[in-house]
C-alpha cells in the first residue's frame, strides 16, 4: 500500500488554483487599485453600480475556488506527520487552522456579492457591506499567521538527520507570518500603510500569501517526489 497515492494529483491542483486566483484577483475591479477606505458612501455605491458584473463574476470565481488551498494544507499536514515529533499536536494545530482562513475569506466574498446584488440600494448600506467585506478579507489573517508559525515550529522540532523540510522553510514561514501581522490592524486607519488599501495591509499581505503558496508549493512538490522515490526503493 502506498500512502502517497494521489498526492501528486492534489499537488497539481496548485498551479491551476493559482492561475484561477490570479485571474479572479485581476478581474475584481476593487483590487486594481484597491478601493480606498476613505471613499465616500456615494462613490462606493457608484462603484458597485458601474462594475456590477465584474464584481459578480470575479467573486463567483473566488467563491468556487476560495477553499481550494485545503488540499495543499492537508499535504503539509501529511508531511508534518513524517516529522520526528513525540506527539501529533503540531499536526492537529495545522489542521485546526486550515478551515479558518478560507471561512473568513468566504465571509468577505459573500459580503462583496451581496453588495453587488442590489447596487441601487441606499449608499450607506452598500458602504456597510463593502466595509464588512474588506475588513473580513484584510483582517481575516489570524489562522494564516498561526499556521505559518506552527509549521515553522514543527520544522524546528523535526530532529532527524534527513529533515522533512529544510530549516530555511521555517524561516520563510516566520517571515510570512510577520508580513501578514500588520493586516490585522487594518480597521485602525483610513489611509496610510495600515489602511486596507495600504502598503502593509494590502500589498505586503497579499504578496506574502501568493509567495507562500508558490514557495510551499515548490518545496512540497520536491518533498513528495523524494518521499515517493524512497518508497519505491524500499518496496
Amino acid at each position: 500500500m502506498r500512502r502517497t497515492d494521489g498526492e501528486l494529483i492534489l499537488w497539481w491542483t496548485l498551479p491551476v488554483l493559482l492561475i484561477i486566483w490570479l485571474a479572479a484577483f485581476l478581474m475584481f475591479p476593487g483590487f486594481r487599485p484597491p478601493m480606498a477606505p476613505a471613499m465616500p458612501a456615494d462613490d462606493v455605491a457608484a462603484f458597485y453600480r458601474d462594475n456590477t458584473s465584474r464584481v459578480q463574476y470575479s467573486m463567483i470565481l473566488f467563491n468556487w475556488f476560495g477553499a481550494g488551498l485545503l488540499p495543499m494544507l492537508m499535504l503539509i499536514a501529511m508531511q508534518i506527520r513524517r516529522m520526528a515529533h513525540s506527539t501529533p499536536i503540531l499536526r492537529y494545530c495545522v489542521i485546526s487552522c486550515a478551515a479558518g482562513g478560507p471561512t473568513l475569506f468566504l465571509v468577505g466574498n459573500l459580503f462583496w456579492l451581496i453588495a453587488a446584488f442590489r447596487p441601487e440600494r441606499a449608499p450607506e448600506l452598500t458602504q456597510l457591506l463593502n466595509d464588512l467585506a474588506w475588513i473580513a478579507f484584510t483582517a481575516g489573517v489570524p489562522f494564516l499567521i498561526a499556521q505559518s508559525v506552527f509549521l515553522a515550529l514543527a520544522i524546528f522540532l523535526d530532529d532527524q538527520p534527513q529533515a522533512v523540510f529544510g530549516r530555511w522553510v521555517a524561516y520563510v514561514n516566520l517571515a510570512v507570518a510577520a508580513a501578514l501581522a500588520p493586516a490585522s490592524f487594518a480597521a485602525l486607519a483610513h489611509d496610510g500603510p495600515l489602511a486596507w488599501n495600504g502598503l502593509l495591509s494590502f500589498w505586503v499581505k497579499n504578496i506574502a500569501i501568493f509567495g507562500w503558496i508558490i514557495i510551499m508549493g515548490v518545496v512540497l512538490g520536491q518533498t513528495i517526489r523524494r518521499q515517493r522515490a524512497q518508497e519505491r526503493v524500499a518496496a
Partner: protein
C-alpha cells in the same frame, strides 16, 4: 536553556498548554478590559445609546479586535491538546477529530464575526444610527448566540471521558462537561429577549453562564496540565520515524 527545552519529550504538549493559558489571558484582557464587550452592553438600548457606546469605546474596540485578529490562531493549540487528550483515551480517534474540527469551526461564528462587525462599526462613527444599531445586534447575537458547536463539542468530550478506560481524566470532569453543555442551552433565550434575566446581558443567560464557563475553563486547563505531567514518554531520545505517533 533552549537545548534543554528541545530535548524535553513533552515540549509540544507544554507549548500547546502554555499557548492555551496565554490565549485565555489575552482573550479576557481584550474582551473585559480593552473593548469592554464583556460584560455585554444592553440589548435594550435605543440607537442613540448604541452610537454613544461605540463613541465611548472607539479606540478600545479597534485596538482590542486588531489584537484578536492577530492572535486568534492561538486557539488551535488548545483544540489540538484537547483532541490529543482524546487520542490517549481508549475510544475511537473519531472523538478527537470531531472535537478538533468542531472547535476549529467555532471561532468564526462564535467570535470573529463579532470582531469584524464591531471593527466595522467603530471605524465609521458617522454612519446612520440605525446601521450602527444593526451592526451592534449582528455582533452580539452572533457572539453570544453561537451555541451548537460548543454544546456538541462538550458532549463529544464528555462521551469520550465517560467511555475511556485509560483514566485520562477523572469521571467528574466528564459530568462537568455536561453542565457546560447545558449552559449553552440556557443561553438560547438570548435570541428572544431585549431585557430581563434571559437577555444577552442577563443575570441567567450571561452572568451565571459565565461563572460556569470560567469554572469549566479553569478546571480543564488544570486537568490538561495534570495530563501532561502524568504523560510517561521515555526520557531517552525522541522516538525515531517509525515510532512517531500516527
Amino acid at each position: 536553556m533552549s537545548a534543554r527545552w528541545r530535548d524535553n519529550p513533552k515540549r509540544e504538549l507544554w507549548f500547546a498548554w502554555w499557548t492555551t493559558v496565554v490565549f485565555y489571558q489575552i482573550f479576557g484582557l481584550v474582551f473585559f478590559v480593552i473593548t469592554r464587550t464583556q460584560p455585554p452592553p444592553s440589548p435594550g438600548w435605543d440607537a442613540a445609546r448604541i452610537v454613544q457606546w461605540f463613541n465611548d469605546n472607539h479606540t478600545g474596540l479597534l485596538v482590542g479586535f486588531a489584537i484578536m485578529f492577530l492572535i486568534t490562531g492561538m486557539v488551535a493549540p488548545a483544540n489540538a491538546l484537547i483532541a490529543y487528550s482524546m487520542r490517549r483515551m481508549s475510544v475511537s480517534p473519531a472523538f478527537g477529530y470531531a472535537y478538533l474540527v468542531m472547535y476549529a469551526l467555532s471561532a468564526v461564528p462564535g467570535m470573529l464575526l463579532l470582531c469584524i462587525a464591531l471593527s466595522v462599526g467603530a471605524m465609521r462613527p458617522d454612519r446612520t444610527p440605525e446601521l450602527i444599531a444593526w451592526i451592534y445586534d449582528f455582533a452580539f447575537l452572533t457572539y453570544i448566540g453561537t451555541m451548537g458547536v460548543f454544546l456538541l463539542g462538550s458532549l463529544v468530550w464528555m462521551a469520550a471521558i465517560l467511555l475511556d478506560k485509560n483514566r485520562v481524566f477523572p469521571k467528574w470532569f466528564g459530568y462537568l462537561n455536561l453542565c457546560n453543555a447545558l449552559t449553552e442551552v440556557v443561553v438560547s433565550p438570548a435570541w428572544l429577549f431585549h431585557r430581563g434575566v434571559f437577555a444577552w446581558n442577563g443575570l441567567i443567560a450571561w452572568w451565571i453562564d459565565m461563572v460556569v464557563f470560567v469554572t469549566y475553563t479553569a478546571v480543564f486547563i488544570v486537568q490538561l496540565r495534570r495530563l501532561i505531567q502524568r504523560e510517561d514518554f521515555e526520557t531517552g531520545p525522541l522516538p525515531d520515524l517509525a515510532g512517531a505517533t500516527g
